[in-house]
Amino acid sequence: MPLTRDQIVARAARELRDGYTVNLGIGIPTLVANAVPAGVDIVLQSENGMLGVGPFPYEGDEDPDLINAGKQTITALPGASFFSSADSFGMIRGGHVDLTILGAMQVSGRGDIANWMIPGKMVKGMGGAMDLVAGSPRVIVTMEHCARSAEGAKGEPKVVAECTLPLTGKACVDLLITDYGVFSIERGVGMTLLEHAPDLSVDDIRKGTGAAFAVSPSLKPIAI
């Protein structure tokens, strides 16, 4: 069995380091905030202009002036700060936000990512994703390894040799965490499988992957 959504979240949370400032994208990445390991202190950045994002407010305490980049009502932790969008993206572009975790529609073996547009179909815009992948010193993608059909069956690989969807960024993904495994992606080297879902063999993973990858000599099952 591939990992569940919660297991992907838990694995991604183990990438957090004490003192990191982190920007979390919408979807699976947002859930990483609920799985921060004990003893690890992180600060969450929200690109609409805030450091120190706290949990959702108690029912009745919502403030329309206090939202995250997903437009959800949130709270501010002690020590939080607010700033303009120009300051926020200066922070991101300038490499001050240590880590970005975001979702993707496709990731290539070279670390290209596509997550913002399906031509002629879905027009939402790139939002802050292009700035985040270009500016963050470390970029982690969490996603399901294969696309899902309307019936829920596993379909086309999302890890591909070449992205067919419009790119969000080129050669910018450092680590890919899916329900199949954990892959590092190094510039000029390519993709290496570091950890596999406990119930999946390397062959199972190859079958569901559109890109070539090396297997780490210290390959191990993902600790669950």
Binding site: E59, D65, G70, A86, F89, I92, M130, A134
Partner: protein
């Protein structure tokens, strides 16, 4: 010069068809809803709007879009408005999508007299290479696409390593419409929490900046150290008549019940 005007209607009396406007707000947070309503009533058409989003179907700038008053949007994310997608994909609306940080910096640059700058954001994507659909035909085929932009290899000041950057240009508008939390009568502004977003830069990047404030206080009542936008950038000021302030996605957690 007296900046405080009697109504949103008076503040927008010279916004003509075809005007280019910057409008503050992120999603429905920090939108100048009173000024948007006045612009809707005024019926001005052919507008170009520079704003991160375009409201929802019936709120924020979505009101102007639904009324057919908008010719072009310059935005970063428009996923919350179905009507937007329909108008764009059938050629009724021109759309220039920018990375959010690039949009913020283009506005900041425009207001600061910087004609262009280089950024790594979007290099190797359609943002630098061109081909983003700016306008569709009625039948859904692409009519006009974005042009390729100049790229240059420069040294990253932080790492000292060479990297490819793309040139982006400053933006400047005829009018800027924003909402502030508190203003003094000379136009010094203070925003509240994440309602600040794009508004401070937008105030600097238009010929006429119009502010609706939730509170207006006499000159001298604000601490100069706490001001987010100095009054030099603000031309007109009105007090909000509606405090409409929408929540787009209400997310909460259960309140802990006190131990019995």
């Amino acid at each position: 010069m007296k900046k405080l005007l009697g109504s949103a209607k008076d503040a927008l009396a010279d916004v003509d068809d075809g005007a280019v406007l910057m409008v503050g707000g992120f999603g429905l947070c920090g939108n100048p809803e009173n000024l948007i309503a006045a612009l809707h009533q005024r019926g001005t058409r052919g507008l170009t709007l520079i704003s991160n989003n375009c409201g929802t179907t019936d709120k924020g700038l979505g009101v102007l879009l639904a009324a057919g008053q908008v010719k072009k949007m310059v935005s970063s994310y428009v996923g919350e408005n179905k009507e937007f997608e329909r108008r764009y994909l059938t050629g009724e609306l021109d759309v220039e999508l920018n990375p959010q940080g690039t949009l913020a910096e283009r506005i900041r640059a425009g207001g600061a007299g910087i004609p262009a700058f280089f950024t790594a954001t979007g290099v190797g994507t359609a943002v630098s290479e061109g081909g983003l659909p700016l306008r569709y035909k009625k039948d859904g085929s692409v009519d006009v696409v974005s042009a390729k932009k100049e790229t240059r290899v420069l040294v990253d000041p932080r790492s000292g390593r060479e990297r490819t950057y793309v040139q982006e240009t400053g933006l400047f508008a005829d009018f800027c419409l924003v909402r502030a939390h508190t203003a003094d009568e000379s136009g010094n502004l203070i925003f509240r929490k994440t309602a600040r977003n794009f508004s401070p830069m937008m105030c600097t990047a238009a010929r006429v900046t119009v502010v609706e404030a939730e509170n207006i206080v006499p000159v001298g009542a604000l601490d100069p150290d706490q001001i987010h936008v100095p009054g030099i950038y603000v031309g007109r000021l009105v007090l909000v008549t509606s405090r409409a302030n929408w929540i787009e996605q209400k997310t909460t957690r259960p309140r802990p019940t006190p131990a019995a």
